[in-house]
């Protein structure tokens, strides 16, 4: 926690008033008026770099531990099951060279994107209907509650039995898992539209359809996107599990198959790919969500 304190002191012009015992050089530099302008730029860069180092510190430590731990800390038998990082990266490189990783990745991406897409479209549509028609909500809600609280993976055998072991069952289970976060957030988004905005739009003589299009939907979009982001994460999670159980391609299959074939570095390469993919998807969805919620950014800091 010391590093953030340091950087904060550098930001505030009042740093000279702050206790300088551990703020040391930054506070001192701020105080000398002659050396204020150029050093401020240097300090800004240093601050950024410092923050970057601090933020990636845990990751670097973890990777170091992964690299050195198996060699120096673990017993020989453990080392077989936990190869150091460079072996995993080499295996990853080989998989990419042979084009295997791309195939598995493509298979997984196709499945999760299809399932995710189906889920988003159908859940937003159903969510809008349920939120708009109270009676439909009262009718459907109990059933939706039951399904929502049934873990998607518990239904995997059912999907496999009914839809076979092929693509259909995998896409379906992804769609199922991604469906509920989007649905619930869509309903919440529509429900929490400011009634005053609806009154204002009504007073302008808007029809129900226009009201929906111009007021309710835009107002609900940020909440819907929160649901979409959650759905993105869970769609990957469920897909990997489904591919582990029965598949001929995909990252889940790569991981399990490598394990069975005792290609332990390949297995870790698969796992690494999954986490990178998850990070990337989440990053993209957060960016999209932020783009659509720009107008909401300052709501918390300024009340009317």
């Amino acid at each position: 926690m010391t590093a953030p304190t340091l950087t904060k002191d550098a930001v505030a012009p009042a740093a000279s008033a702050a206790p300088t015992a551990d703020a040391g050089w930054t506070a001192g530099a701020a105080r000398s008026p002659a050396a204020r302008h150029l050093p401020s730029l240097v300090r800004a860069i240093a601050r950024k770099a410092g923050r970057g180092i601090w933020a990636s510190g845990a990751i670097v430590l973890f990777l170091l531990l992964w690299e050195l731990g198996p060699t120096y800390l673990a017993s020989a038998s453990t080392r077989v099951f936990l190869p150091p990082l460079h072996e995993v990266l080499r295996a990853l490189g080989t998989l990419i060279d042979k084009g295997q990783l791309q195939n598995h990745l493509a298979a997984s991406l196709t499945r999760s994107a299809s399932g995710f897409g189906i889920a988003v479209v159908s859940a937003v549509a159903l969510g809008l209907l349920v939120a708009w028609y109270r009676s439909l909500d009262r009718f459907l809600n109990p059933l939706l509650e039951v399904f929502r609280n049934t873990a998607a993976l518990a239904l995997l055998p059912v999907f496999t039995l009914l839809l076979g072991i092929g693509e259909t069952s995998k896409i379906s289970i992804v769609a199922y898992a991604a469906f509920f976060p989007v649905l619930l957030n869509t309903i919440a988004g529509v429900r929490t539209v400011d009634p005053l905005l609806i009154r204002a739009a009504r007073s302008l003589g808007l029809s129900n359809f226009r009201l929906f299009q111009k007021v309710i939907l835009p107002s609900a979009v940020p909440t819907i996107f929160t649901g979409i982001r959650m759905a993105g994460t869970s769609s990957i999670l469920v897909l990997i599990a489904a591919e582990m159980v029965g598949a001929k391609a995909g990252l889940g299959y790569l991981i399990v198959n490598s394990q069975m074939s005792f290609l332990i570095p390949d297995m870790y390469a698969g796992i690494l790919t999954v986490s990178l993919l998850g990070l990337l998807v989440n990053y993209l969805l957060v960016a999209v969500e932020r783009h659509f919620s720009r107008w909401r950014t300052a709501v918390g800091s300024q009340s009317n």
Binding site: D194, P195, L196, L197, R199, A200, A201, R202, S203, L204, G205, L206, R210, K214, V215, P218, S219, V221, R294, W295, R296, T297, A298, V299, Q302, N304
Partner: protein, 307 residues
């Protein structure tokens, strides 16, 4: 500032009444009805600026909703230009106390909101025409250069200016204003009152302005209509004649102003006390009146907002 007389009134209320069903509660499973407005008869001339004052719970907002066409009266009729009001229409615009701006739209896009449908001549404006109009009306309310700001980047007074511009943009004849300046600080409020008078003179709109401030009512209105405590009836209409206002003088400390103010105050005073004794509070738009719920002991709810 002469009132047009002898023609058909712009707005005509004939014996208008409105009742709400109070939600059923544990003690009264049947629910009861609550009369918010009763026997309101009032004519407003074209181009007139009329203010409406009344204690809390006297049905001011209910009356405005009726005029806007958001709800229908239970008795009587509301006519605009001789035609009965059956729903919201583009001949009337509402300005709300809470601004009601669309936060995902910039100031200009908010102003253009009402222009996006089919216009009164049955023609849709294209994007450029809408932007031009938005800019024009933002200029009218003194917000040139703020076209691209989002509502959260504007102060309360600026937001209300945008809301007024939005209402003016589709060129209604009538402006219905529901305590539009109540949430603003005193200076901004005075400034906006001036602006509103200027806009009114420049555009010749008919304005019905609801307020709980006596000063505001007397300052703005050519006539002040005083409503009684619940059920809201028209108690009296006070003609306000402050003479020709030069604009920069302090009208509010003028003897004539003080006299008018006192008159409205005395009319309102009894009603506020009555409302207070009965514990009346605001009726919510869905008809729920907190003070009408039987389990509450009467008189607990403050009506300090009135007057």
């Amino acid at each position: 500032m002469t009132r047009v007389t002898g023609q058909t009134p712009k707005i005509s209320l004939r014996n208008v009444g409105k009742q709400f069903t109070v939600r059923a509660s544990k003690d009264q499973p049947e629910g009861t009805t609550l009369t918010a407005l009763e026997g309101i008869t009032l004519d407003v001339a074209a181009g007139e600026f009329i203010t409406l004052v009344g204690p809390s719970g006297s049905g001011k907002t209910t009356l405005l909703d009726l005029l806007a066409g958001l709800t229908r009266p239970d008795t009587g009729q509301i006519l605009v230009d001789g035609k009965e009001v059956t729903g919201p229409g583009r001949d009337r615009a509402v300005v709300f106390q809470q601004y009601a701006l669309f936060p995902w739209r910039t100031a200009a896009a908010n102003v253009a909101f009402g222009l996006e449908g089919t216009g009164s001549e049955g023609r849709r404006l294209n994007r450029k025409e809408r932007a031009d109009k938005a800019r024009h009306y933002l200029e009218l309310v003194g917000l040139s250069g703020f076209e691209d700001r989002y509502p959260h980047e504007l102060s309360g007074g600026m937001k209300q200016r945008v809301a007024i511009a939005r209402s003016l943009a589709y060129e209604p004849d009538v402006l219905l204003m529901d305590e539009p300046f109540a949430a603003l600080d005193a200076q901004t409020r005075e400034q906006l009152q001036e602006e509103l008078l200027r806009i009114w003179r420049a555009t010749g709109k008919t304005i019905i302005f609801i307020t709980h401030g006596i000063d505001e009512a007397v300052y703005l209105g050519q006539r002040v209509a005083v409503l009684s405590s619940r059920p809201g009836r028209l108690k009296q209409i006070v003609d306000i004649d402050l003479g020709e206002r030069s604009g920069d003088g302090d009208v509010r400390s003028d003897a004539v102003f003080v006299e008018h103010r006192h008159k409205v105050w005395s009319l309102l005073h009894d009603e506020v006390r009555k409302a207070q004794d009965a514990g009346h509070a605001k009726i919510r738009p869905d008809g729920f009146a907190p003070d009408e719920a039987p389990q509450l002991s009467k008189g607990q709810i403050s009506t300090g907002r009135a007057a």
